[in-house]
Amino acid sequence: MEIELMDPSSAKQDVPNWFLPLRDEEKMRGPTEICDLNNDVMTEILLRLPLRPLITSKCVSKHWYGLLSGVSIKPQLAHTTGVFSYDDGDEWGYLRHVPEADDEYAQDVHSAVDTALSFLPTFPDVLVVAGSHGLLLATAGTQKRGGSFFVCNPLTKKYREVPRPRTARGHRMRMHSVGLDFNPKTSPFFKIIFYRHSHDRLFRKRTANRPLELELEIYSSEVGKWVNSEATEWASASCTYTHMVSLNGVIYRVDRKQQQEEEEEEEQQAKQKIVEVDELRVPVATATSSYGSIGQAAGSIYYAYGDKEKSTVWVLREEKGKASWWELKHHVTMSKFTGLAERDLGAGDWKNIVYQPMVFLSSHELAFLEDSGGGVIYDCDKARFKRMEIVRQHGITSARFKAFPFTPCLYDPSLASAVPAAAGASTSG
């Protein structure tokens, strides 16, 4: 059913001209009503509501519905509630939204979100491969190789089907080979980035002595098709590892170089906007047998690095006209870390914690770590561990799981290419 929306721009929001003399009709006007508020104020009010009243307000009137449906503005709920965890035991996906706080808002989101993604056409064969803000990127698991990607919003239960790029058909999708770039605060469109590098099985031209080459295929909901970038020589042959993440149209990449003779590894990070490449040094030079990872959550890029002695997390800060810098968010020595884990999780239950967070929510200073029991949440602020509750379904017993950042939003990905760019830019007073 189509609901005809009132164009909020046509609603009365003209600010009376300051210099005009007092008009009689203004004196005669009835009492001020809620409809006299302009859309900015109205949106501010609605988006400060907890989720439940926010959803129920949709049916107050067409004007309110329009403000909340993401047609003219992109409502962004102000809170990050946690991560989606994903258990890939038996290569079968199961999702669970993890509220990080026991507040009403988190509970509301929890009951609103379709954690199993049962609205997708391939359900129950669903494999989640990436997440960005309120959207997840899913695809059919093992049964249907070459199936489509689904960009979905588990809150609004809307999705958009995106065919796989030709070069990616017939292969199992892996995390880190595909990324989702969506930030409703900066753009009404999302991008899917498919990475292939010459050390990957997917790259046909693989040879041991060739330099690492990288090919990108990018799907933008603005254009509605995949665009292939030429294979680029990204790094020297000594580069053994590369890890990428994208945010706001910028791809951040961490390379790991190995210089055999010196037994030293060096990491560097490059960010590239398809053509231009800037180099940005990562905050720590890594020691042997460990490496840092890069990720994005709630609109920030973070770099996590753990070794035998310490675990550290940095967040990338960027300001216009200034060089980007890394802010150290969290630093803990291993001895303290294990002591805390023992205290909070019980002896022996934390042995295989991977000290690099899968997701780091800088807004809440929460690190989501993987361990043999599933996952643990480390509250960097309060120095406290908490086990992540994972509901096992469909006989899954594997402990391995992945987590994706999740910031609920009301964005409807199926509308994506229908949203005119201009409408996305809501004016702020």
Partner: protein
């Protein structure tokens, strides 16, 4: 404010013709007025065409309070300085007993005059009024006309059935199934 500087006064006229005389520092809390005063284009009475006298009184009360807090903040041991909690309590008290139509007027006024703090207080108050109410109760409170057909409204309700449940912690399905 020190005694030596002569206080410059500004006159504001509400939509119903009442004229208020306030100190310039008080008027300047409103960014819109501040811009005008700095451009020196407001030496006569400034007409505030969308704000009625009772509302303007309330707005001026707010501005006076802001001046009182900030004027002495440079000195140490400021007796007027508030903690976060006190500020919250003060804001609640300031908005106490404000009905929905007054609140709308206050929001229009603070948006127009560009007083961020007051706008924030108003938005929070509005949020607390909307919360916990059924759509029909919201419509009644703010005189909003329901322009959906019953079918359209039903459709929206069905799409988000969980949100319309009475029990706030209603769980839509059991995880064992």
């Amino acid at each position: 404010m020190s005694e030596s500087t002569e206080k410059k006064m500004v006159r504001l006229r509400s939509s119903d013709g009442e004229v208020f005389e306030v100190e310039e520092s008080v008027a300047k809390v409103a960014k819109t007025l501040q811009d005008m005063l700095e451009e020196d284009c407001a030496d006569a009475v400034i007409p505030i065409t969308c704000v009625r006298a009772p509302i303007l009184t309330k707005v001026i009360d707010y501005c006076k309070d802001q001046v009182m807090i900030s004027s002495s903040s440079s000195t140490t041991n400021n007796p007027n300085e508030r903690t976060e909690q006190e500020r919250k309590a003060w804001g609640q008290k300031f908005m106490e007993g404000v009905d929905s139509s007054t609140l709308c007027e206050l929001l229009v006024a603070s948006n127009f005059l560009n007083i961020e703090g007051l706008l924030n207080l108003g938005v929070d108050k509005m949020v607390s009024m909307i919360q916990g109410k059924y759509p029909q109760e919201i419509r009644d409170m703010f005189n909003v006309v329901n322009d959906f057909t019953p079918e359209e409204e039903e459709e929206i309700r069905n799409q988000n059935a969980w949100a319309f449940e009475r029990d706030p912690y209603y769980k839509k399905r059991s995880s064992s199934k």
